[in-house]
Amino acid sequence: MAYIPHTDEDVRAMLEAIGARDIDDLFDEIPAGLRIGSLDGVPPALSEMEVSRLMSDRAGRDGRPLNFIGAGAYEHHIPAPVWAITTRGEIYSAYTPYQAEASQGTLQGIYEYQTMMASLTGMEVSNASLYDGASGLAEACLMAIRAHRRSKSSRILVPRALNPAYRRCTEAIAGTQDLRLEEVSYDPKSGCTPLDALRPWEGQDITAVVLQQPNFFGQLEDVDGITDWARAQGALVIAVVNPTSLALLRPPGEWGEKGVDIACGEGQPLGVPLSSGGPYFGFLTTRMEHVRQMPGRIVGRTVDLDGRSGFTLTLQAREQHIRRGKATSNICTNQGLLMTAATIYMALLGPAGLERVASACMARTTELVEALTRVRGVRRAFDGPRFHEAVLQLDRPVQPVLAALAERGIVGGHDLGRDYPELGHALLVCATETRTREDIACYAAALADTLGRVAAA
């Protein structure tokens, strides 16, 4: 499609046709007090050469640190073809197209993505993706409230071991809509949510129970027990899962006797670079019985009048262009580019490749935990099985230690102090398949040296 900007003459002709004096007339509905007036605070334009220099200087300031932080976003190897294919002109777009059926290739890409995500999570239907994992959970909670019409409480149980950013995001998006999140504590020994912690809610009207696997601490929850408990209370179950882990762990569609109702999570581990925190994409899958309450676009396969196979947007009566204010969400677009990259990543790796990635992550994290806990003053916070993250406890405050490691080019982990003060000097560490034995040895040595210098508590 040609991109031809309007000439001054075009603009004048259009304004004249609608009877407006100038462009500002088009904005006169906005009260003067809300308008910015001038753009004095914006610096003058730079040339392309100057901008390139400025941006590469700033990027250079980050250095190339050795990364041991996860906490919701993970550094994985991305095979070169993933972004070589994703950035081809034919598919280089962030959006589902407006004349969707004219773009059969784009729709097929989304259809393949949906098929892969439904298969990976063990659910029946997937949407075309959402903004990110955290907003995906907010959408899942709102969806659960719509889908569970018998429940009147709009109470949703969330484990304290859920990613705190997901909880804050859900409260920000869904909290204004009469939704109440109630916190379920974790066992200080295992870092997991025990069934006993849920007992106080037994027999009450609960709309849904959220369950993250692996949880924010990297520990593996008793997903079968909690799913079955929630069902016995008549609550829906929302799973938050790491897609890489699903190559090894049983998918949420098979948790407990009947599986969960909604599965969602962050798609970034599937071929999307860390990139300063975004853009990422969220995924959301469900059972057919709830599909009409699902947010987001859905592509279906069908046949045309001549019997030829084709792809089309389907179940659109849920969406804002038809249902207006009663739409199941006002996200009718998606993170199409990231979703495309994820589809190519999954297609390149296949189930066996994804399983090798997941196994390597687990093995590296085991090595990391062994190496770091050999350092005096460092111990593991929780027992029990985990995936590719672990919580360590130091014998002194975390921040000065992280600062000292950063000076040596090591990002040592996520400080849990702000969100989990009860854990003391706690650090969440992660090693994916991208960390080598040498990287781990380098971190262990730097940590031993740093703890020798930074004052103990």
Binding site: R149, R150, R292, A317, R318, I322, R323, K326
Partner: protein, 130 residues
């Protein structure tokens, strides 16, 4: 011209009401409404026990191209939704005044039924909508 049975009451928003011998009422959408919507693919019926007021959106009918709310013509308590519509939404198209009923209601007062349109008034309303 669509079918407007003489023994029913109607609303301007194209719902019909049938008073049953026990004083409860059956509610559905009219032949005109199902024709305008086209082939239905999904009907969301209200659950038993729900209290509704006249004019509340209490059901949703979804066709291949649109979804519309169905408004309760009367206030009262929902006795039952037509669960058969979950598997066979097309019953609304095929038999809008019979098997395609949407909900049964125990009306709060009988006065509200009397205030609804009769068949002649509803036919007139359809003609005026053109």
């Amino acid at each position: 011209m669509s079918n407007v049975p003489g023994d029913l009451r109607f609303t301007k928003s194209h719902e019909w009401v049938r008073t049953l011998p026990d004083g409860s009422v059956e509610i559905g959408v009219t032949d005109h409404a199902q024709g305008a919507l086209g082939d239905l693919v999904f009907v969301e019926v209200p659950e038993a026990g729900r209290q509704v007021r006249a004019g509340d959106a209490f059901a949703v009918v979804e066709s291949v191209k649109a979804a519309s709310d169905v408004y309760s013509p009367l206030g009262g308590e929902v006795l039952a939704g037509n669960d058969a519509l979950a598997a066979q939404p097309e019953l609304v198209n095929q038999d809008p005044y019979g098997q395609g009923w949407i909900a049964r209601l125990k009306p709060a007062t009988t006065a509200e039924v009397e205030a609804l349109l009769d068949a002649a008034q509803y036919s007139e309303h359809l003609a005026s909508e053109g």
